[in-house]
């Protein structure tokens, strides 16, 4: 049995979900992978909880739920960059929400971790979309792993599936329904004949849409994920500004009605080949026609043909599935050493 230590940077929805799953699966990881996975630090904006022997996950989650993280006995004023550097650990989980324009603080976290000889697993889209070449290059140079499955499609294992099982294929196209919020709104409008405003308000009440939903509605979030798919799976070197983006703001109930009458639905589609995000007509019986907050990704390949993956594109626990998949992937490599 080996002990492996993690630093969790960012303690929002995904950070908490990841700790919950780590607690739930601790014994599994021990029995199946032979690793005692411990969390050496959890970093928030204003400080960190640090314990070299491994923090007590129960107590941290409890303190977080009552808003009393700072009263936790292991609370230190060390900020994330400092903690990444000084805390002894094997893997840094960078789970902060990214600023789509600057990529920070994610970019600095990832670079610091790699420079300090730590593997990185991230769910943060912005750094991967903005600095793909630089960050993957740095990881390679350092002989470390940088994994980012959770950045696209939540629990859908698209990036790892391609890398591990489909690399023999030339990918001719990728189409994706990559934003759960806009898909929920379009589904609601289509099925219940309500306006975009009504559907959005309901999504906000259910916690599906954020208070400022513009990145979801205007296509930005889908475009960022499209850039990651293009660069990581299709070997392109594109950035966000290369993508033509149209969101769903202008979609009316009448247009959805018209589509329905002719056997179509309207979905916000990321088209990797066309480098375009736009509302598209999809036949009702098409595999990409998924409802609610679901995501779907369809690959067209020269050997395997078409392949469609459908799953939860977001969610506290669901996204943690991809984060942990990346952690296990790194553990397997460490086992071989």
């Amino acid at each position: 049995m080996k002990t492996v230590k993690l630093i969790v940077v960012g303690f929002g929805t995904i950070g908490k979900g990841t700790l919950e799953v780590l607690r739930m699966k601790h014994r599994d990881l021990l029995e199946k992978q032979g690793f005692d996975v411990r969390v050496a630090a959890v970093c928030e904006i204003d400080g960190s909880i640090v314990n070299d022997k491994g923090i007590n996950i129960d107590s941290v989650l409890k303190a977080a739920s009552s808003g009393k993280l700072k009263e936790h006995p292991d609370w230190k004023n060390a900020k994330s960059l400092e903690a990444i550097e000084v805390v002894d650990a094997d893997i840094v989980l960078e789970l902060t929400p990214g600023d789509i324009k600057t990529g920070e603080p994610g970019i600095s976290h990832i670079k610091k971790a790699l420079e300090c000889g730590k593997h990185v697993v991230t769910s943060n889209k912005a750094p991967i979309a903005l600095r793909f070449q630089e960050l993957t290059g740095l990881a390679k140079k350092k002989g470390l792993k940088l994994r980012y499955e959770a950045t696209v499609g939540g629990a859908i294992p698209i990036i790892n599936l391609y890398r591990d099982n489909l690399e023999v294929n030339e990918v001719r196209s990728i189409y994706g329904i990559l934003n759960g919020t806009s898909n929920y709104i379009l589904t609601k409008m289509f099925e219940e004949d309500v306006s975009l405003q009504t559907a959005l308000k309901e999504a906000q009440e259910l916690g599906i849409a954020e208070r400022d939903p513009s990145y979801d509605i205007d296509g930005t979030d889908t475009a960022v994920k499209l850039v990651i798919l293009a660069n990581s799976i299709m070997g392109k070197r594109i950035s966000y500004k290369d993508i033509n983006v149209r969101g769903i703001q202008e979609i009316t109930t009448e247009s959805l009605e018209l589509a329905k009458k002719h056997g179509y639905v309207i979905k916000l589609v990321g088209d990797v080949n066309g480098m375009e995000v736009s509302p598209r007509l999809i036949p009702v019986n098409h595999p990409l026609n998924v409802s609610g907050t679901l995501n779907a990704i369809m690959l067209d390949m020269d050997i395997a043909g078409t392949l469609t993956l459908v799953g939860h594109g977001a969610g506290k626990i669901q996204t943690a599935s991809s984060v942990l998949a990346d952690v296990i992937d790194i553990l397997k490599d460490m086992k071989e050493l």
């Binding site: 979609i251 002719h262 098409h286």
Partner: protein, 163 residues
Amino acid sequence: MMKVDTVLKLKDVPGMLIKALEPISTHGGNIISVTHSRGEKGLVSVHVSFKVRDQSSLNLIRKALEKQGIHISEIEIEGRTYYTKKSLSFILLGHVIDTDIRDTLDRINDVGMVSGIEVVMPAPNQKSSVLMDVEIDEKSNGELIRLVERICKEKDFLLVRSL
């Protein structure tokens, strides 16, 4: 009856020619001439001219040939190149009627043929939704999309096109 000129690419093995001609006569084609030339290694280009009753008979012949793995590289009907037809549907969202819908249709008809149109106008000063089906030669698909995109930009429509 219409005269059809085709070029078939056949494998250079005995019996292939008979196999290729059979579907033509089976579906009522009257063969006028067959000429062949050895070109690329392993493949023979065969020019076959025949008369056939109508487009649907020609489609049956094409399907039968394709089923046997015979590729038709060119088709001319009455001396004019024929391309596979394709149908493209899209919705235009905006002030589609008030921005000279006649002009929009004419320009699209220059590249393809609008075969279906349905308009929904919620109120006179609100944006309308217009669904169009356009028949088009497969080779002009890209040209049509570029044209429609140009019109949308010019007339401030949102284009929702099929995948």
